[in-house]
Symmetry: C2
Subunit: 120 residues, 2 copies
DNA sequence: TTTATACTGAACCATGTGGTTCAGTATACG
DNA sequence: CGTATACTGAACCACATGGTTCAGTATAAA
């Protein structure tokens, strides 16, 4: 459970970087080597390796080294827990604002009846 | 567009901390002061103020100070862009793996016909 | 065997993060 | 008035992040 939370932490953190989101989108089109990715995102190999490492640690990317080249592909994680958290938050948000609407409506009613009884 | 990306960056970063996700869930139940939140999440007022500041900057929380107390409530942002990104990623992931399945199927077919022509 | 390619790791750097303490300010209460 | 409450800002801390350079190692190609 704590472990679960940490995974969500790590995934959201991984997604908070535009380059890493770009890498995921890129790997959605086709697999790529570190050199490919470094070229496309204008970064040193070392820099790209680090980003791939972050994505790999969260399970969003897997890699395999054959000869000199390390091929990167989308990993097994599908952001289910993250999608679920966001969806449940959105429902919470709706519920909360419905509730506030009700309170506002009540206030308006009270206000109206005050005006009825005590206009001024 | 760049600005849009930065907002997504900031939201995902804000969500990468379990305490901040907890604060959002808590505020979904009812509004709360900094003192309330600091007590519930066992943290100093200053520490909590910082978390609220992060959430406020991303629009996930709004606050209003009346007298001595600052009341925090859920803000206008509903994580639409973030939910959309994750959903589109999940579709990409499905498509990519369907494609890989097809490749594997092709390989199996080729392999089978090789066996037909050249059993060994 | 030499040379070029592809990656890797260590070390460094500036900046950000998640937390603290301490010293305030502003407001409410008696 | 004096005192307690609620927050705020500055400063500090250890550590993480996003990037770099530089010096390797391992493999492929000529």
């Amino acid at each position: 459970m704590v472990q679960y939370k940490r995974y969500v932490d790590a995934s959201f953190a991984a997604l908070s970087d535009a380059t890493r989101r770009g890498i995921l989108e890129r790997l959605g089109r086709s697999d790529a080597s570190i050199t490919d990715l470094a070229g496309e995102f204008q970064m040193t190999l070392t820099g790209m390796k680090k980003h791939v490492g972050v994505l790999e640690r969260t399970g969003l990317v897997t890699t395999e080294k054959v000869g000199r080249v390390r091929t990167c592909r989308l990993g097994p994680r599908r952001l289910e827990a993250e999608a679920a958290w966001i969806e449940s938050y959105r429902r919470l948000w709706e519920a909360r604002f419905d509730e506030l609407d009700k309170i506002v409506a009540d206030l308006k009613r009270t206000d109206a009846s005050l005006h009825d009884k005590n206009p001024k």
